[in-house]
């Protein structure tokens, strides 16, 4: 079971143009900032948003191809969707909600209920089967929504920000249930999220979308180690710069030079961990080959560490100790020097 989706569609100011493959061998996470087109991508695959050009193939069946005049309605695509909000049917009990898809397919009531009971049990809600959605907590409702999508055993399971609308206290448990069910579900699985940490918890492969385009895709470890977009890098807490390398120097677009540990050639990404950046008030001596002037801008405290944004020719996020913040009066802002050892910098071709 798999999905091949070549999607080209314009919706308001969004122009989505992606070519996505989801096999049943791995859970795929689509990550990206708000407005990147992630939800639209799910809606297009589900048949809720018509595509302008392209072709969507689910389980070997062409379900949408505008040039051939093919467009299957959502009910004919063999999909299951978990939306950001549970979208349960308010007049039906939890069990009737889960049985809905089977009843719609003509499964007799008793059989559909038995299957629904099994799936409710699977998501840990066996004791809630008679409850109406209004009597469920946000996390419970989302688990019912998951069971409802799974009960029809769709070829493709699509989850659109399944954790986003659930309050923090229920999130960990829901994430656990999602992780478990996604792992054992035999079909193609696609989960959309704006949170790379969530993607890391749920998926094996990551597709990064920005501005309606895929900017990176690959195994989770590869994407987190070598992010290819500033957004994903910042979400992972990494500084990402890009420039052109010659030998052990990368020259950025604005002319600033970054010394790197091992030689490289051509367009190159430069990743710098915030805790590899040292901050000084006076120009430092020592062994660091990268020393840049800048201004201390925003400051965030994270436990006993502080993250400070430095503007200048080489914009950086630096992570320093709370003691250093006090000692250097970093909360006051003003001119600073940032230094990074060349050996602490990771580079990879753009």
């Amino acid at each position: 079971m798999s999905v091949q989706a070549r999607i080209d569609l314009t919706l308001g100011s969004l122009h989505l143009d992606v070519d996505l493959h989801v096999e049943d061998t791995a859970v795929v996470a689509v990550v990206g900032p708000n407005g990147a087109g992630k939800t639209t991508l799910v809606r297009a695959v589900a048949g809720l948003a018509p595509i302008d050009r392209g072709r969507i193939v689910i389980d070997g069946v062409v379900v949408e191809d505008p040039s051939a005049g093919i467009r299957f309605a959502p009910e004919g695509r063999g999909i299951g969707v978990v939306f950001q909000e549970p979208r349960l049917f308010p007049n039906l009990s939890a069990q009737e909600n889960v049985a809905f898809g089977l009843r719609a397919r003509g499964t007799p009531k008793a059989a559909a209920r038995a299957v629904a009971a099994h799936w409710l049990d699977q998501v840990g809600l066996a004791d809630c089967e008679a409850r109406r959605p209004a009597a469920l907590s946000g996390g419970q409702a989302q688990r019912v929504a998951l069971a409802r999508a799974l009960a029809t055993e769709p070829a493709v399971l699509l989850l659109d920000e399944p954790l986003a609308a659930v309050d923090a206290s229920a999130r960990a448990e829901l994430r656990h249930v999602l992780r478990l069910e996604l792992r054992r579900y035999p079909g193609a699985r696609l989960v959309v999220t704006h949170d790379p940490i969530e993607a890391a918890a749920l998926a094996d492969r990551v597709v990064v979308i920005e501005g309606g385009r895929i900017v990176q895709e690959g195994p989770l470890v590869e994407v987190t180690a070598r992010p290819r977009s500033p957004w994903i890098a910042s979400m992972l807490g990494l500084n990402l710069l890009s420039g052109v390398a010659r030998n052990t120097t990368v020259r950025l677009a604005n002319g600033a030079a970054v010394a790197i540990g091992s030689a490289a050639e051509g367009p190159t990404f430069v990743a710098i961990r915030p805790n590899a950046v040292s901050v000084h008030r006076e120009r430092p001596g020592g062994s660091a080959r990268n020393v840049w002037p800048g201004e201390a801008a925003e400051l965030h405290l994270v436990g006993d560490r502080a993250r400070i944004r430095i503007t200048g020719p080489v914009p950086l996020i630096a992570e320093v100790t709370a003691a250093a913040v006090a000692e250097l009066h970093l909360a006051d802002g003003g001119p600073v020097w940032a230094s990074v050892k060349a050996t602490e910098i990771e580079t990879y071709p753009e």
Binding site: A46, G47, L48, A73, P74, E75, I79, G80, V81, F83, E85, R87, L88, F89, P90, N91, F100, G101, R103, A104, R105, A145, R148, A149, T152
Partner: protein, 243 residues
């Protein structure tokens, strides 16, 4: 302006002879006929009006605004004009009436089905307007969810859309039914005033007043007033805010 005539009705009511007046054969017949025709009109309105409201709320098509205006017209049209219009359409020599008679031998005019048609004509807009607003404003996201679960349009409508708009439909139905129950102008013009077949309660009230049987007229009026109040009370959460 509203309170005074209503209080006058209550003050002048022949309370002692009320049960007797209402048990008059004519009154009982008119009441039963009113109940039948108004419920019939409600059924016709629902059968035609609910799908129409759905189309108006959910489908874009050329002339939609014109159709909506046309549907609402009976709310502001003098009922007697409606009656005449029905006569020219469905009367024995009417455009549609002639065809219908030739094909089926069935007449709508001057019989009970005519009374039902006349009442439906004035009552349907109330149901359509309420239902359209409900179809338009309901949360469509559960319908989408139903589609992704494999539910086709018919199943979705029955199990998701209708339950969601049911309270609004009930309110619209109550309003439409109350309007049908009180229908006078269109009924007397199109269906006539025949005891037992088209003489509904409002028609009998008029006839009784004209012929000096004030007692029965007042008693029936009180009963209709009570029904109207009951409908209002039933709808109070919707129309008058929570008690």
């Amino acid at each position: 302006m509203v309170a005074l005539p209503l209080s006058a009705l209550i003050v002048r009511a022949p309370w002692s002879s009320l049960p007797h007046d209402l048990h008059q054969r004519e009154a009982a017949t008119a009441l039963r006929l009113s109940l039948e025709t108004s419920l019939g009109a409600l059924a016709v309105s629902a059968l035609l009006g609910v799908p129409l409201a759905w189309v108006l709320a959910r489908r874009r098509f050329p002339g939609r605004a014109a159709v909506r205006a046309l549907v609402m017209l009976p709310m502001v049209l003098p009922p007697v004009v409606g009656g005449i219009a029905l006569l020219y359409a469905f009367g024995r020599r009417g455009v549609a009436g002639r065809v219908l008679f030739a094909l089926t031998g069935w007449r709508l005019v001057f019989n009970t089905s005519g009374a039902i048609l006349a009442e439906a004509f004035v009552a349907m807009p109330f149901l359509v307007v309420t239902a359209e607003a409900a179809f338009r404003s309901m949360d469509r996201r559960t319908e989408e969810a139903a589609a992704t679960l494999g539910a086709g349009p018919g199943y979705r409508f029955r199990r998701v859309t209708l339950p969601a708009v049911a309270p609004a439909l009930a309110a619209g139905a109550a309003l439409g039914w109350a309007r049908a129950l009180g229908e006078f102008g269109a009924t007397i013009t199109f269906a006539g005033n025949f005891p037992g077949t088209t003489q509904t309660t409002p028609l009998l009230i008029y006839l009784d007043i004209e012929s000096g049987h004030d007692g029965t007229a007042l008693a029936l009026s009180l009963l209709l007033l009570a029904v109207s109040l009951a409908v209002l009370v039933g709808l109070r959460d919707r129309w008058l805010g929570s008690p």
